[in-house]
């Protein structure tokens, strides 16, 4: 029989995923592995993992990776890429990591047009620490530190990182995708590939923001969290290409 599908070589074959059931982190890391294989870059890739659930797979990634302090992945990636420009360097960060504690590093790296790729997982909440409010938390959405839900007067509004970075001149490519449907999974895959290719071509800063679910901390089962993502998250965070200088 012909084998038409196999687990990406980017992840050890003998380890079970550390993510919660229904978590889209596992979809995205699979896509990244597949794209690296397809592009023949697995032996040239360096992943910079943020702190949070975005680092849960470090134990069983089969290629090079560095864990950055919380929020500093873009600075760490800057150092790696500038010191060794031939590497394909990408950061893998959650919304607390990229948009809250690491906002300065994120915006500054984008503003320098660093030739790196950011894979930004926007699930609207702090996953690993147990569902605290993130800069991306929707208005009204409950969080363990916003028991009445996010209130604009008190917490401000959800932050749109693609649009914020789109105010800068340097970024080359900014796209927001999701993994809520098979079509969107394929689109995400394409966007990741494009962002990596941009880096190999020396084009500068690319980011793919992926709107995902966190069933565990949203307090919803897998199916209901998909509904919430479709109805609420994607209304606040419309998908599409925000900038493509290619």
């Amino acid at each position: 029989m012909e084998k038409i599908y196999a687990r990406t070589k980017g992840l050890r074959p003998d380890v079970v995923s550390g993510f919660c059931p229904g978590c889209m982190h596992s979809t995205v890391i699979k896509l990244i592995g597949e794209v690296l294989e397809e592009m023949n870059q697995m032996d040239n890739a360096v992943a910079v993992l943020g702190i949070g659930c975005c680092g849960l797979h470090m134990e069983y990634m089969s290629y090079d990776n560095v864990t950055a302090p919380h929020g500093r992945a873009c600075a760490v990636a800057t150092g790696i890429k500038r010191a060794n420009s031939k590497s394909l360097v990408y950061t893998y960060q959650g919304d607390g990591d990229f948009a809250s504690i690491g906002l300065g590093e994120s915006v500054s790296a984008a503003n320098r047009g660093e030739n790196i790729t950011v894979i930004f997982i926007n699930n609207g909440i702090y996953g690993m620490t147990g569902g605290q409010m993130a800069p991306t938390t929707l208005l009204g959405m409950k969080a363990s530190t916003a028991p009445k839900g996010r209130i604009a007067e008190e917490h401000g509004y959800p932050m749109h990182m693609c649009e914020i970075l789109n105010q800068l001149t340097a970024p080359y490519y900014l796209e927001r995708t999701s993994c809520n449907t098979p079509q969107n999974v394929l689109k995400t895959r394409k966007a990741i590939k494009k962002a990596f290719q941009n880096q190999l071509d020396g084009k500068g800063f690319s980011m793919v923001e992926i709107v995902t679910s966190c069933p565990t901390n949203w307090g919803l089962d897998t199916m209901k969290s998909l509904d919430y993502l479709n109805e609420k998250m994607l209304t606040e965070y419309p998908l599409g290409v925000i900038r493509d200088n290619g």
């Binding site: 360096v46 470090m58 089969s62 090079d64 302090p69 600075a75 800057t78 150092g79 890429k81 590497s87």
Partner: protein, 358 residues
């Protein structure tokens, strides 16, 4: 070898370049701005990379990244900036990433004062970040020493896969002195040093889980974490056995022994000479590495002969005093001669302090 007249900060940067440092990231703060400024001119000449980071936090993390590729890398700052870097320094120590940094320290807590002081001793030697890690800490007393220590620091960092700190005060950083620069390492030697780190560096590896470069500043397995901590502790013990550097100046017959490091030691030394000219038995122990601290040199003094130890520091409260006390073990009184806040230790103050004790 040619002698050149150089400012401390610039001499440190040039020594680093000669040692093969090819990456520097830093953020402006007085009194060390000449370090990043010098690197910004110099590194492009040798194919290196300089980045002005958006903050100290970003800068140390850029260095963490660059050093993770096996590139000799450096950052520098002054006291509050060092505090901001401490998480990143701790990450480098945890992940066993070699890098070098300099602290041209300030006169107190908070923003402190920009004038020379030795107020960061305990931070430098005991807890430069969370988690109980330690570093070799060199304390230059002359610009020449700052040069030689910076040059050697990269070798120690690589040997141990650990950060190394050059702990300066504003006098060393801003003073101009004649120095002899070490010879520039050639491109082949620098490439060989980098090659030696290939097995662990984050530079991409052939696809094989066991061979991947995994820069891992901690571990979820308590057993692995403890093992890492034990290995680090064994390394710290080895430093104490093998790497202590200390200058003992006229201590053989001394009845009063001063202990001082960095610029304070230089002042104390002139005081020793003054009193020796009058036949007074005064000596000096100067820690050159403040970590590992030269406990043994102080411990092995003949306390039948030594009547008093005088701890001389530009720090109030005294900080090195804690280490001195550990070594003296109550066998003679320890007095202090202190100033702080950016006031440079005056020879007269030390003369008076000694006069009261002999």
């Amino acid at each position: 070898m040619e002698r050149v007249f150089m400012k401390g900060c610039e001499a440190i940067a040039e020594a680093a370049v000669r040692a093969g440092c090819r990456f520097f990231a830093g953020y402006p703060i007085t009194p060390q701005n000449e370090i990043p400024e010098y690197f910004s001119r110099r590194l492009p000449e040798v194919g290196g990379v300089f980045i002005q980071g958006e903050s100290e936090v970003a800068s140390i993390n850029m260095v963490y990244g660059a050093a993770s590729t096996g590139t000799r890398s450096m950052t520098s700052s002054s006291s509050p900036g060092i505090s901001l870097k401490s998480e990143g320094i701790s990450y480098c120590a945890a992940a066993r990433i070699p890098m070098v940094y300099a602290n041209v320290s300030r006169g107190g807590p908070g923003v402190g004062s920009i004038q020379p002081a030795q107020m960061d001793y305990l931070q430098a030697t005991k807890a430069s970040g969370n988690g109980g890690f330690k570093m070799m800490v060199f304390a230059p007393a002359t610009v020449q020493e700052a040069v030689d220590m910076t040059f050697a620091a990269f070798d120690y960092a690589d040997r141990d896969r650990n950060p190394v700190l050059i702990l300066c005060d504003g006098v060393i950083g801003t003073m101009m002195e004649p120095v002899v620069m070490p010879e520039m390492k050639g491109d082949a030697e620098i490439a060989a040093i980098k090659d030696g780190k290939k097995s662990w560096a984050a530079i991409g590896h052939e696809l094989d889980y066991a061979k991947r470069g995994w820069i891992q500043p901690g571990n979820w397995s308590t057993a692995v974490m403890q093992q890492g901590n034990e290995e680090a502790a064994a390394m710290y013990d080895n430093w104490q056995k093998n790497d202590v550097q200390v200058e003992q100046y006229k201590v053989e017959d001394a009845e009063l022994v001063m202990v001082a490091y960095g610029i304070s030691a230089r002042i104390a030394k002139t005081v020793v000479d003054k009193y020796r000219a009058d036949g007074k038995k005064v000596g000096l122990i100067r820690p050159i590495t403040v970590n590992p601290f030269p406990y043994e040199a102080i411990e092995n003094l003949n306390y039948g002969q030594v009547k008093t130890i005088l701890d001389v520091e530009m720090s109030i409260p005294a900080q090195m005093l804690q280490d001195v006390s550990l070594a003296v073990k109550g066998r003679c009184p320890i007095e202090t001669c202190l100033c702080s806040g950016g006031n440079i230790m005056k020879k007269e103050q030390v003369m008076d302090a000694v006069a009261k004790l002999i």
